[in-house]
């Protein structure tokens, strides 16, 4: 055997520069029985990075429920898989691309979409939908300072003073680049971008979040896994050539905080080519059908290194590759660069020995490189050859599975995030709620996202029954089946900040409730956990709390977690983002024809509030609402108490009502409370308005109209169905309160018998629909 390349002598100092601690370096020396060479050090540093090894999160992730009757594949593969009947499986996962999207918004977001799509088709599934959860800093000058007596004192620290104009401009620029990047990739690739959500908070200004979820469909028997088999089988490289882009993306970009010099990391961002990915998709699916492929994995984070070592490790085998044979688009690349490159649109395959030609032919038909670069071995080693020398030789299992695991110190913050505030501390007597409502509708978090979503092709592949804005969740029909899938992402960072556990539970509950509002039964979930620096005990405590919240809610709502992604180090200059778990929940509709939208359907229909129960009106949690933030500049107290049993009752009830076609629309009560929910059901309709009376509750009018809490949905139905809907609701222990009817012209909400909001629906619609375009039109 040739000698190990040791051109650069590795020292503990160099190891530290690679982000490895002294203990981690000592462990590497022990595993190898010698000092690593420079290339091997690079390989360890990416594979043991936070991003690839989950070293801080793994001990906590174990607490998540990951099994269930429909789960075919839980966490640990490229994506989760659930059985959806008719011999079909749904393959789905969510992933973050936060730091690259800050450094280079267009390419960062584009390659985020590209990466998650590869995770789906690597498993043999054809992607049918993408959703995006985005978080940005403010794009418009925000709420006025609270004018109440306690207001100034309680004004929240992370909600700083009015952002400067250049900050707003920069945030708009980031949003614009991210939206263009998502559209660029998905539109060209040919997958519909069908939904997601966008929120704005100052904490995301220097650390936006770009979480992309992809969903695919496969026949169950056609699934592929990334598990190498058969020593002697050829290892084939397919797709784009390797360049110097994205080197150390996983370790330097994704696993470290940001500083003022972060823009210098731009070369670490990958560059995407959706056309290449489209070819790769078709070639992979076609090559899989030949039956000659044994295992396949995409080259995402840590590229060649992770794909080869993980495939080898999962199969209990080794892999030997010769870098000289790797297709390259730059000259004189070193083994270090080739192993750590994160060039996009590449795949590593293991084929059956003797049938390589069948695989090559398919890739060549699609105009793609496909070359044998090595073989599966029985020795358990990742052996990398270059120019006839061994450039690296490391036990594959050690790289993929024996990374460090940390039980990092945790500490609850000394004081609660903010002092709670009573509504009377910041509400003013005699406020014009109609005017406040108009402002709320125009605030970026609530306003129509049409300006964004119309830049995405939401219809390609002709499966989209409910696209962006048309329902609480996206609904996709399955050609050749009666069934349909519903899918939604959600997460409220502000609530996560105020109370990480409850905030996480709400994220699960709201996604599931949204899915149920389309009539689909929630069956599984995926999560993207966006947090600050895990080396800070308070961040780690937030993370642990969020995991417990997700675990509890997913158990109660019977939506096991089938995969996802952890994104730590979302901090810039030492300031963490709000803890932001984003949940993607998948639902199954037995009959696609029963899918519900959120819009009212006919004049004269009855409007009914379904309430699963739990806490009463939102008075005590009102200071954590979107209204309190947008209108009064208050972010305080705790999110509404959550009652998972009530959520489950409501979900089951909605699924039953939709299945029996007893209701015509359903929309969950969420950001902006009853007023916004009712208005949205009008905005998406054919010009209808609503006239409702919320009755009397033990809360100020503002809290009754704008207050938020879970387990509620507004449905509409023919007046003739009132008794039937009431009876079904009663079976599930859900309160069905008729509150009004669908009208035309004037939109009116009464409380305690007095109109508190009234105005022509068209004027409200205008405020809601034009605001984002106005703010961003010149971006």
């Amino acid at each position: 055997m040739a000698t190990i390349n040791t051109d650069i002598k590795v020292t503990p100092q160099i190891a530290a520069e690679h982000g490895l601690t002294a203990e981690e370096y000592a462990r590497i020396q022990k595993i190898l029985g010698r000092d690593p060479n420079f290339t091997e050090l690079g390989v360890f540093s990416v594979m043991w990075s936070e991003h690839c090894s989950y070293k801080s999160s793994r001990v906590h992730l174990k607490r998540l429920p990951t099994t269930g009757p429909r789960v075919v594949q839980g966490p640990g593969e490229n994506a989760g898989v659930v059985d959806i009947g008719d011999g079909l499986v749904a393959v789905f996962k969510i992933e973050s691309h936060n730091h690259p999207s800050f450094v280079e918004p267009f390419q960062g977001a584009a390659t985020g979409v590209g990466g998650i799509l590869r995770d789906i088709f690597t498993m043999g599934a054809r992607p049918i939908a993408v959703l995006d959860s985005l978080r940005f800093g403010p794009i418009t000058s925000g709420a006025k300072a609270p004018e109440s007596k306690a207001g100034q004192a309680a004004r929240l620290k992370p909600c700083p003073d009015e952002p400067a104009a250049e900050e707003l401009t920069r945030n708009r620029h980031i949003l614009d680049g991210v939206v263009r990047g998502i559209g660029f990739y998905g539109n060209c690739f040919g997958v519909p971008t069908v939904g997601g959500e966008v929120m704005f908070e100052p904490c995301y200004a220097n650390n936006p979040l770009v979480n992309a979820l992809a969903l695919g469909i496969a026949r169950r028997e056609e699934l592929f896994f990334a598990r190498a088999q058969g020593a002697g089988n050829p290892v084939i490289y397919a797709g784009a050539k390797t360049g110097r882009d994205g080197i150390h993306g996983a370790s330097l970009l994704a696993s470290a905080e940001f500083s003022e010099e972060s823009q210098q990391k731009r070369p670490n961002v990958q560059v995407g080519d959706p056309f290449m990915e489209k070819l790769l998709l078709e070639a992979c699916l076609e090559a899989m059908r030949t039956g000659a492929i044994v295992a396949i994995q995409d080259m995402g984070a840590a590229g060649l290194t992770s794909s080869s070592s993980e495939m080898a490790s999962r199969g209990g085998l080794g892999i030997e590759i010769d870098l000289t044979r790797v297709p390259q688009r730059e000259t004189a690349m070193t083994p270090y660069e080739m192993l750590l490159s994160e060039s996009q649109e590449r795949m590593l395959l293991v084929a059956e020995r003797g049938r390589e030609r069948e695989v090559f032919e398919v890739f060549h038909k699609w105009g793609l490189d496909a070359v044998e670069i090595g073989r599966v071995t029985g020795d358990g080693l990742l052996r990398v050859l270059h120019d006839g020398r061994v450039a690296a030789e490391i036990p594959a299992h050690a790289l993929a599975e024996e990374g460090p695991r940390y039980q990092r110190p945790m500490a609850a913050p000394k004081a609660s995030a903010t002092a709670p505030m009573r509504p009377e501390d910041f509400l003013r007597e005699g406020a014009d709620l109609t005017e406040n409502f108009r402002r709320l509708l125009a605030s970026p978090a609530i306003a129509s996202k049409y300006w964004i979503t119309e830049q995405y092709d939401s219809m390609v592949r002709t499966n989209t029954r409910r696209g962006p804005g048309a329902g609480d969740a996206a609904v996709l029909r399955l050609k050749g089946s009666k069934r349909a899938l519903a899918i939604k992402t959600d997460g409220n960072g502000r609530w996560g900040f105020l109370a990480p556990r409850a905030g996480a539970m709400h994220a699960v509950a709201e996604s599931a409730r949204n899915v149920a509002c389309t009539g689909a039964r929630p069956i599984a979930a995926t999560n993207c956990l966006n947090f600050g620096n895990p080396e800070k005990p308070e961040v780690m405590w937030q993370f642990s709390e969020a995991i417990d919240g997700i675990a509890e809610a997913c158990r109660a709502l019977e939506t096991p977690i089938t995969g996802g992604n952890v994104s730590f180090y979302n901090e810039t200059l030492g300031k963490p983002i709000y803890p932001t778990p984003v949940l993607g929940v998948l639902g199954l509709l037995e009959d696609a024809e029963c899918a519900l939208g959120s819009a009212f359907c006919h004049e004269g229909d009855a409007i009914v509030l379904l309430d699963g129960g739990g806490a009463s009106a939102g008075a005590e949690s009102f200071s954590s609402s979107e209204y309190a933030k947008a209108i009064h500049g208050v972010v305080a107290g705790a999110p509404p108490a959550i009652d998972l049993a009530a959520e489950k009752r409501l979900i089951d009830c909605l699924v039953q009502l939709a299945g029996e076609r007893a209701i015509l629309s359903a929309h969950d009560v969420s950001d902006g409370g009853m007023a916004v929910t009712l208005a949205e059901s009008c905005f998406d309709s054919e010009g209808f308005a609503a006239d409702v009376d919320l009755g009397a509750q033990d809360a100020p009018a503002e809290a009754a109209v704008f207050g938020e809490r879970g387990a509620r949905a507004v449905v509409s139905l023919s007046p003739a169905s009132l008794a039937r809907v009431g009876a079904i609701a009663a079976q599930y222990g859900v309160k069905a309160q008729p509150i009004g009817r669908v009208t035309r012209g004037e939109f009116r909400i009464q409380y305690r018998g007095v109109p508190v909001i009234r105005g022509m629906i068209d004027s409200f619609r205008q405020a809601w629909s034009e605001s984002l375009g106005k703010a961003l039109g010149s971006a």
């Binding site: 539109n187 040919g190 959706p274 056309f275 830049q455 092709d457 050609k479 024809e593």
Partner: protein, 241 residues
């Protein structure tokens, strides 16, 4: 009768066109690979939407050089029906089978939305089943759909009845300067044109996405059904001749 749907590298509405013709209107349909050098056996050819060759250089600029386009050119000049949808329209422009060019949308952004188009000429094999002035709701999804041609070409198009579809309000009013009624800023709100012989049509909206009410609109059916009727008539004429 057999339809062919051409597959270029980067086509991504090929499956949708195949589904619309095969599963929805129940006509025989097959894919045609971009390297095919002939298209014999087909009665109508569809150039589907997508990003052929990644839209590198210009939309449609590379696809026109693929082997299949030489065959499509011969097919069209022999009177065969050719329908170019979105990227397919762009390819027909680059190939010189239709006059004019595409610019970026006026707002310089990709637009995906339901739009309304008015049928301007029902005397074509693609619109013979439509009513004159009928308004169809069909979605668009493109970045370069801002149709342009010089004044001489425009007057020729007008004179020969080659403007087949125009963007319009839901009521059928054409308003070139109104971004709602003419979303991409096309010259004279042109959404689709034909060649002089009217056997080649290109349009930016996606009729294959508007063939099932469950997905929002079935107004695109009239285009495919017109093609079927024309081909049936041609077949009958051939038999009787």
């Amino acid at each position: 009768m057999k339809f062919g749907v051409v597959q270029f590298p980067g086509s991504n509405c090929d499956d949708d066109a195949h589904h619309a013709i095969g599963a929805v209107i129940g006509q025989p349909v097959e894919f045609i690979w971009h390297q095919s050098e002939q298209v014999s056996g087909f009665d109508a050819i569809i150039l589907p939407g997508g990003f052929s060759y990644g839209d590198y250089l210009r939309t449609g600029a590379l696809a026109r050089f693929s082997p299949v386009m030489r065959a499509v050119d011969r097919f069209a000049r022999a009177g065969g029906l050719v329908l170019g949808i979105c990227n397919g329209f762009q390819i027909l422009l680059e190939a010189g089978l239709l006059p004019g060019a595409m610019m970026r949308n006026q707002g310089l952004r990709f637009l995906c939305r339901q739009v309304h188009v008015r049928v301007e000429n029902t005397d074509t094999p693609f619109t013979c089943r439509a009513r004159a002035g009928q308004v169809l709701q069909i979605p668009i999804a493109h970045m370069e759909g801002n149709y342009f041609c010089d004044a001489a070409t425009l007057s020729e198009l007008e004179r020969n009845g080659q403007i087949i579809f125009r963007y319009a309000t839901p009521e059928g009013r054409v308003d070139e300067r109104n971004r709602e009624a003419n979303p991409n800023g096309s010259l004279r709100a042109i959404a689709g044109i034909s060649n002089r012989e009217r056997n080649v049509v290109g349009l930016m909206p996606h009729p294959e996405r508007a063939v099932e009410l469950a997905l929002g609109s079935a107004d695109g059916l009239v285009i495919f059904r017109s093609m079927v009727e024309s081909l049936t008539r041609r077949g009958a004429e051939r038999v009787s001749a």
